[in-house]
């Protein structure tokens, strides 16, 4: 855990529309319980199936904030410093249903993330990274944008 990435992107090398990377995140019910504990958001729609169904949801869904928090890691790792992300926003368009795969190695859901350079501000030396975040082919976040301050 000591080797810090020193290859931080330089503003001058960036082009609008360029992809910065992509990744897949596996999500399990256990991940949602972990996130509930870490964040303090214990809404039972994120861990109790009967409860979720009783409030007219398809079943247990991921915290929107879990998906938002996990999706930006692509940007953090690319930027080389978590503090470089000075502005981050999204709309939560569709829920991410997480199947109960307890006791198996299978994920309960898979979230796919693709990041592209959406806008560049030469004066502020910032890049807006637009994230396309999908689950089972459906966009779950929209207008997911992270503004990164570059050296």
């Amino acid at each position: 855990m000591s080797a810090v990435s020193v290859s931080r992107p330089r503003f001058e090398t960036l082009e609008k529309g360029a992809e910065i990377g992509r990744r897949e995140i596996s999500v399990t019910r256990s991940d949602l319980v972990t996130y509930a504990g870490a964040s303090g958001d214990f809404n039972p729609i994120h861990w109790n199936n009967d409860f979720a169904v009783s409030v007219e949801l398809p079943g247990v869904i991921a915290h929107g904030m879990f998906t938002m928090g996990a999706a930006v890691q692509l940007v953090v790792d690319w930027a080389g410093d978590p503090a470089a992300v000075i502005d981050y926003q999204t709309r939560f368009t569709k829920p991410v249903p997480v199947a109960d795969t307890t006791g198996t190695d299978a994920p309960g859901a898979v979230v796919e993330i693709v990041g592209t350079v959406g806008a560049l501000d030469a004066e502020a030396r910032t890049a807006r990274i637009d994230l396309a975040v999908t689950c089972a082919g459906q966009r779950v976040l929209t207008k997911a944008q992270a503004v990164v301050k570059l050296p």
Partner: protein, 149 residues
């Protein structure tokens, strides 16, 4: 129970401080599947010029949702937490959050809009440090679903 339209414009002043701890940063970072060493390793954080472990970009949600809870738990608000769905979220960081920070949040109810039998409520938490300096501004929109929504 209907959402109280008079909530709009209400301000909940800063209450007890939130102490940002190293283990909480590590725990939250693992929970969002973060791997950057600046969340976990002090030397790595200091190598980037930070005073201590750096929080992930969405860490301020802990402080923001504690502030939101004051509204949701306010008996005058009429909000049923089990029918709350998160609709939008934004974090503007005025400076990085690091371990050792003591943060307070002032909550502003910026907008209340009736939607069907429910309502869309937009809140803003102005998060500042012990010295009063601005740390982060978070905005959240929550949809309180009416029956059948």
């Amino acid at each position: 129970m209907a959402i109280n339209p008079d909530l709009q414009g209400r301000v909940y002043p800063a209450a007890e401080a939130y102490d940002v701890g190293r283990e909480k940063i590590r725990e939250f970072a693992r929970a969002v599947k973060a791997q950057h060493p600046a969340h976990f390793d002090l030397d790595a954080a200091r190598a980037l010029g930070h005073a201590d472990l750096v929080a992930p970009p969405s860490f301020a949600i802990i402080v923001a949702q504690r502030a939101d809870a004051r509204l949701i738990e306010d008996p005058e608000s009429g909000i049923d937490f089990s029918r709350v769905v998160h609709a939008e979220q934004r974090f503007i960081h005025h400076r990085p959050i690091v371990a050792g920070d003591r943060l307070v949040a002032e909550l502003h109810v910026d907008q209340v809009r009736a939607m069907g039998g429910g309502a869309m409520i937009t809140t803003r938490a102005e998060i500042s440090g012990e010295d009063g300096g601005k740390v982060a501004t978070t905005t959240s929109s929550i949809l309180v679903r009416g029956e059948g929504q």
